[in-house]
Symmetry: C2
Subunit: 426 residues, 2 copies
């Protein structure tokens, strides 16, 4: 993409409404704009990051043998009455009457819909195990939307649902998702901490949250050197009393540490809670009708963006991991009026694109300072500067955004030497 053809409205000033770094940087780097309280539009760069995160998730889910579906946001409230959650969801679930007076809701999650779907379809143990997932928009009427897309009323989620013959099968499906989640977050370079979690309104027997330690995290985690880690909520429920910093570890008795952490994934062993309520049974090998044993697995897809930014930024801006950067390489001819610089930049841009590198050419006729500041603000993993000075040495200047490390490459071989620099980052 050529910068002058792209819509990248960076902001010089910090927006006053942004309390945390990720919110401030997503606005300043031109990734999102607010429409209404808790409701955001993704601009082209934000959408590019979203699509890359989706690609990482889709690849990992498919590799784990899960199959993608697409379930509706519109759901009859009656389905939630049958599962017993219509009341429990309270005001968080958006409800309305359609023109025929039928009570409908906007899906805050899809346990009811998927269970209702498989109830007619999975009839034999031969069809099990199965894992169905979707990447889809969820709606929750947040009491206090905040921090941009960290806590918003409309957001993108990956939700997967496994169905097994028995709890031993569920244990295997759960473990496979646990490992898939670790792989997904690793590719996004997110230092996640899986912790024991409370099952809350979901129900079921067991649950893990994937937490990212963060100063402005809305959740709290207690952990111990022995390996014990749990959400504070879960620790309190287990102990039957408050658990804070210094409380004894339930595993080894040593004092617990307490730290804030922005949840990016949550997995649950649901068992037969939904399948029993909605009549999703199968014929087992022994001839008996049994309820399907279910697990569910969520990732806050759009929340990955601010979470990555919280852990990958400095004073100048974002430092995207290459796998999910809006563009991997930013080619900056410092002065586009200087024809040899601009020509060299264009050639390099075309050569990199031909090599499958996701490059952007900053062809703006603007001051060098503006272009270099934008490069740091948006946080492309690699910045290549071409100027009269570098050309005099037949070189280009290469800067790795994450480390700040700068080096010079011969212009003639830059197109060949850059792709190997990019791939280890991705």
């Amino acid at each position: 993409m050529r910068w002058t053809q792209a819509h990248i409205p960076t902001l010089r000033e910090d927006p006053v409404e942004a309390e945390v770094a990720s919110h401030r940087l997503m606005l300043r780097a031109g990734l999102i704009r607010k429409l209404s309280s808790g409701v955001y539009s993704y601009l082209p760069l934000g959408q590019r990051v979203l699509l890359k995160v989706i690609a990482v998730i889709r690849e990992a889910m498919n590799a784990a043998g899960a199959q993608e579906v697409l379930l509706p946001a519109l759901q009859p409230e009656e389905l939630w009455k049958r599962s017993g959650r219509a009341e429990a969801m309270g005001q968080e679930m958006i409800r309305f009457k359609d023109r025929h007076g039928k009570l409908m809701v906007l899906g805050p999650t899809h346990e009811e819909v998927i269970t209702n779907l498989v109830a007619g379809e999975l009839r034999s143990y031969r069809q099990l195990p199965i894992n169905l997932y979707q990447i889809q928009t969820k709606f929750r009427d947040e009491p206090r939307p905040r921090f941009g897309v960290i806590r918003s009323s409309e957001f993108l989620m990956k939700d997967a649902y496994s169905f097994d013959r028995d709890t031993a099968g569920l244990d295997r499906s759960y473990q496979a998702m646990y490992e898939t989640y670790e792989a997904i977050f690793r590719r996004c370079d997110l230092p996640v901490l899986p912790v024991l979690a409370d099952t809350g309104v979901m129900g079921g027997s067991d649950s893990h949250e994937f937490m990212v330690p963060a100063a402005h995290g809305e959740d709290e985690v207690v952990r111990c050197a022995c390996g014990y880690a749990a959400s504070r909520e879960r620790a309190v429920k287990t102990a039957g009393r408050d658990v804070g910093a210094g409380a004894p570890c339930p595993q080894c008795g040593k004092p617990l540490a307490l730290e804030p952490a922005i949840e990016v994934g949550h997995i649950f062993k649901l068992g037969a809670k939904y399948t029993q309520a909605l009549g999703a049974t199968f014929l087992d090998e022994d001839g008996a009708q049994k309820p399907l044993i279910m697990g569910c697995y969520g990732i806050g897809v759009s929340r990955i963006l601010p979470t990555v930014i919280e852990t990958h930024h400095d004073d100048a801006g974002i430092q995207w991991p290459a796998a999910i950067a809006p563009y991997t390489v930013d080619i900056v001819p410092l002065n586009v009026q200087h024809t040899p610089s601009f020509d060299a930049a264009q050639s390099l841009y075309q050569a990199l694109r031909a090599a499958g590198v996701d490059a952007i050419l900053d062809d703006r006729d603007d001051r060098a300072g503006v272009k270099l500041k934008d490069a740091d603000l948006i946080g492309f993993p690699i910045r290549v500067v071409i100027s009269e000075k570098t050309l005099a040495q037949s070189q280009v200047e290469v800067k790795i955004r994450a480390t700040g490390q700068t080096s010079f490459l011969p212009l003639a071989s830059a197109a060949a030497s850059l792709p190997p620099l990019v791939s280890p980052l991705a």
Copy 2:
């Protein structure tokens, strides 16, 4: 994908609720399931087709220089009051109050949101022209949902919005989208007829609908041998009286033909209707503040599936064009208990996948008739049968679904000869 690992619940019987071929076949081939009136889930095969349609659209839109964004479904009703459409949308627009009592709507379309977005962002003629698009879920409370996903209350749409300095620029942007639409529908093998259309609740000066002639079409088109083609609605508005079959062509006077046709695309020259109402102005080269001149361009993404099926099926099932088929090649070892057949099928499957061909291996231990019927029903473009009989000749049997043409290929070279057969179909 191996069939036994996939969830492909084909139905033997015609579902009673399906009135048209596409609805019947989408249910029978295991592409969709109904959740509620006008609300459908996409099963794995349906989702695969959706993703391929999305890829075709995305590639063409990006090639045309449009940039992808993602706009929210949740919108404040106040925005629709400002554009003057809050009343005009009537009951079709889903409305609710959020927990703070704020009136919100579910976006049936996004002219208001995009205009509000660019109002703060496009400030200079230097930023124009620009075309922003999204592929996103729309909500319309249909009075009479019918024909499966042809007319549903929740559907996937590609909506693009162009902004220009003047009407000459809009004419160019409009023409570019017109040609992009022709390219998109050509890849989906849809025989579209672009017709003059009524602008309806959208407003603006000019509009074309992309129609596909279909016996069960809900729209009507009048056309003449001289080249004139219009929606009946538009022809009636232009003439100021009813226009039916045999009425004089407004262009040449000869009698018009009338035919039914399911719209898959609609483009509009909106001019300054929305930008003026919402204050989206820019500073032109001459120093004057002017309203942005706008166009909008929609494609019913999910509606492409049934529209393609209406024009691509026979008594046995669907005949997918290769570019959007759920899988391109179905490899069918007739008897998986016959080890040489199954081994040959597996080798071919692996070789095709390594060559980038989207193949499925029907590894079910089921009767040959069931497997061949499912292949025809789902409509994979190419079916490869491997049996004791073909193996005795060291051959595989290849059938092109669209033509029914059958031929035999040497087993040894099948992996090399199939990819060139696939690509002209795609």
